[in-house]
Amino acid sequence: MSDRAVRWDEALLPPAMALAIALVVGDVLILAFGQSPGHVFGILLEGTWGNAYGFGQTLYKATTLVCTGLAVAIPLRAGLFNIGAESQLAAGGFAAGVAGIVLPAGMPWPLAALVCLVAAAIGGGLVGAVPGALKAKFGASEVIVTIMLNFVVLAFLNWIVAAKLHVPDSLHTAEIAAGGIPRFADFTLAFRGSAANLTLLVALTLAAACWWFLFRTKGGYELRAVGLQPEAAENGGIPLGRTWFRAMLIGGALAGVGGINYVLGYKHYYEEGFGSGTGYMGIAVALVGRNHPAGIVLSALLFATLSQGGLAVNAIVPKQMMEVLQAVVILAVAVSAPEVKRVLRASAKTNA
């Protein structure tokens, strides 16, 4: 509840530092490829924040990343490492896709989309609940279970789509009959062609809800206590197992909802591998966002920019360079967070 005023310097300096390091490393890499950093970063910015289409694509990518980032952050606040956002996202997207196919075609879109959204949350939540339950009941390591589930769930979804649901000569299901979420391009022509859609508002609402949950509710109070100090939480009558289960369930549901961005907002069908890597990227988003919903929104934007920008500059520098850059951001944040804290505290000691 009454948190000590957030230390803004501690919260913002590490990412800023990481970004600065990544920029310089990026410069060096670009030079190594014989290109001009100014030119490449120019294209990158132009292709992401410089025009409405690129900006829309960045927002589109950020939408999914906000969901998977939250899906990692909530369990992490309870002390669990959810590596399963990848399959939770896919399961959510699949559930939404199937719901959209089953629903009657004439259904008004907000209602249909809501049904699909709930289906996505249930789909992802189920996948998240399994490691949660195993952790709560048997103390099984959620890291191992979520990693294994990624294989199992993705293989199962691939099989069911390929064997039962796919449109011939494709890896996707039939188009949904109802539940399509309008794109921004439907309201303003500027976004024409970009996949950005109203799911962005859903993701932002979820981020706000997560913040409220974590820092304002009893459930969040208990969840964070379990993550910070399980023994003390237990002593306070908070059941560890149930809290872990709940955290994984929420995490899975959040990732699952991320699936509607593609399925309802973009392609209107579930396709094998639609979010490949986005779940894992959620770990980076949560890490760089310091497990805070606001931080996650910002870091999702950052990674979305790098991802979309990577596509824009792909013609002159290899994709791998952007991947290196993302890795540099992650590493730099991981390293600079404690380092910045140390320096700040040390200088506070000598200056005060």
Partner: protein, 521 residues
């Protein structure tokens, strides 16, 4: 060699807005045992950390053996032979004693670690200093007292000649304390200098040569131990007269009632190693009674209290609160039934250190503050404000994280939460309630426990401090090897009478066990 071993003068140190030390001066002669006394938060630990190179002082100067060492770092301090043993152990539980002692300066044989050599070296050091630990054992398997010996060994192994001990006796039983004194005296005889941070008056009288008292970040007095009385020191520490923990007439054994407030029948509990840690223990505590459990740590007290609190499952037996069986209730149900628990380790179980004081004050009672959509922040803050004032928690800012407070004030948060509610709890499980807490706070905590007792609560008190158990308890049980080997009336409880039971020198089966009014099954 006329130079004092340590000379600190005018040291100041602050953390952000908090001035931890303002003007501390300390002179310690060679080969003496020097007690640094003061309430928690008085700045003792901070001052010693400055000496040990962990903090850079904002002002003042530090000299060790005549050399100006102001602002040195830990590495330099260790090289100069200054070593500190902390209140909270910094050991790697999965490594052996020898490995922990070696950590940072491993002995090698070629490229591999020389395990046998390390163990021999540690064993030799043990013999020389009288610190008895088996170097081959894993630290995780050691008792707290043994772990502390490892900490001391670690420092001595690095060649410390000036040894700083931060509250070393907080975790020791009386025999262990005597053991430690013996070690310290040996060190002194060999030319070592010892600084003892403590707040226990009798200990100081017992062991030290000279005393320096700190209060509110300043050194306020220096005296030779010979010719000082405990009350002189106490007065210097708190700045006023205090009533020391003496046995207050409370030996009224409440007559057994049909339904006792709290009853434990035939309770068995398994410990972390799956061995039976509590073995068929039975006792009753009447309303208005403090039931003390004395004993050397590691004899099942921890497991017993955890089982009573619901943190550990019972193997067999029953627990009755006002006649109602609660052994299968979860923690929150027990809390709601009026069971309060002051855990032995406030850093582990008592507090969420990164939570604010206000948040910690509602732990376990959070559902009382929950509204439809959120916790009622205003009520949480109001509760915090009231408790901070009532229990004099300092600093009086409920938004500070618990981590930022001194040990005594942290314990006050726990006490305020467990005993500060509108209603008194029915049963209070108080485990080491004054461990690492200063004199003023001890007095306060004892008063709270007595008040709870007088209000009709049944109090189960576990403490490694025999004096505390004797001072407070209506009846005293001695726990040894997982059973109660004897239970005596408070008035009959003296260190002399209980000591042999605690060390297992007599067992309940012995002929002398006639004093036991109830015993192990």
């Amino acid at each position: 060699m006329n130079e004092p071993a340590i000379a600190l003068s005018g040291i100041a140190k602050s953390f952000g807005p908090v001035q931890a030390i303002r003007n501390a001066s300390l002179t310690i002669a060679n080969s003496e045992i020097h007690a640094l006394m003061g309430e928690n938060g008085a700045g003792k630990s901070t001052l010693m950390r400055v000496l040990a190179g962990m903090f850079t002082p904002d002002g003042g100067s530090a000299h060790v053996e005549g050399r100006d060492v102001t602002g040195w770092d830990t590495k330099a301090a260790i090289a100069a032979g200054v070593g500190m043993v902390h209140q909270h152990f910094m050991l790697v539980p999965t490594l052996t004693v020898a490995e922990n002692v070696m950590l940072g300066r491993e002995m090698t044989k070629g490229v591999s670690l020389d395990r046998a050599g390390a163990e021999d070296a540690v064993r030799a050091l043990c013999e020389r200093t009288g610190l008895a630990v088996d170097p081959a054992r894993r630290v995780a398997d050691l008792s707290v007292g043994e772990a502390q010996r490892v900490e001391i060994l670690k420092v001595l192994f690095r060649g410390a000649r000036i040894l700083i001990l931060d509250e070393p006796t907080a975790v020791l039983s009386p025999p262990e304390v005597q053991e430690l004194w013996r070690v310290l005296r040996t060190l002194r005889a060999n030319g070592g200098t010892v600084v003892l941070i403590t707040h226990k008056l009798d200990e100081v009288i017992d062991i030290s040569d000279t005393i320096t008292v700190m209060r509110a970040g300043e050194t306020v007095g220096r005296m030779a131990t010979a010719g000082t009385t405990p009350s002189d020191i106490a007065r210097a520490m708190v700045g006023r007269e205090v009533s020391l923990a003496k046995r207050v007439a409370s030996g009224v054994v409440v007559p057994p009632q049909a339904t006792p407030r709290f009853e434990v029948r035939d309770l068995s509990v398994r410990g972390p190693t799956r061995a039976r840690a509590v073995d068929h223990v039975s006792f009753t505590v009447q309303a208005g009674e403090i039931f003390g459990i004395a004993g050397v740590e590691g004899n099942g007290q921890t497991e017993l209290i955890e089982a009573l609190a619901g943190l550990r499952s019972c193997e067999s037996g029953s627990i009755l609160l006002d006649g109602r069986a609660i052994q299968s209730c979860v923690v929150s149900e027990r809390i709601d039934l009026g069971l309060a628990h002051i855990p032995e380790d406030r850093h582990l179980r008592g507090l969420v250190l990164d939570y604010s004081i206000a948040d910690n004050l509602i732990m376990g009672r959070q559902h009382q503050y929950a509204g439809a959509w959120s916790l009622d922040g205003a009520r949480v803050a109001a509760n915090a404000g009231a408790q901070v004032a009532k229990f004099d928690i300092r600093p009086a800012d409920a938004t500070l994280p618990a981590r930022a407070l001194s040990g005594g004030n942290q314990q006050k948060i726990v006490i305020a939460r467990e005993l500060g509610g509108e209603r008194w709890p029915s049963v209070i499980l108080a485990s080491q309630p004054t461990r690492g807490v200063d004199v003023g706070a001890i007095e306060f905590i004892h008063a709270r426990l007595r008040a709870a007792r007088d209000a009709g609560a049944a109090v189960v008190l576990v403490s490694a401090d025999l004096g505390e158990v004797i001072a407070l308890s209506t009846r005293v049980a001695v726990m040894y090897g997982g059973t109660f080997v004897t239970i005596v009336n408070g008035d009959d409880a003296t260190p002399l009478a209980l000591g042999p039971w605690m060390t297992g020198a007599i067992k309940s089966g012995d002929a002398k066990a006639g004093t036991a009014t109830a015993g192990a099954a």
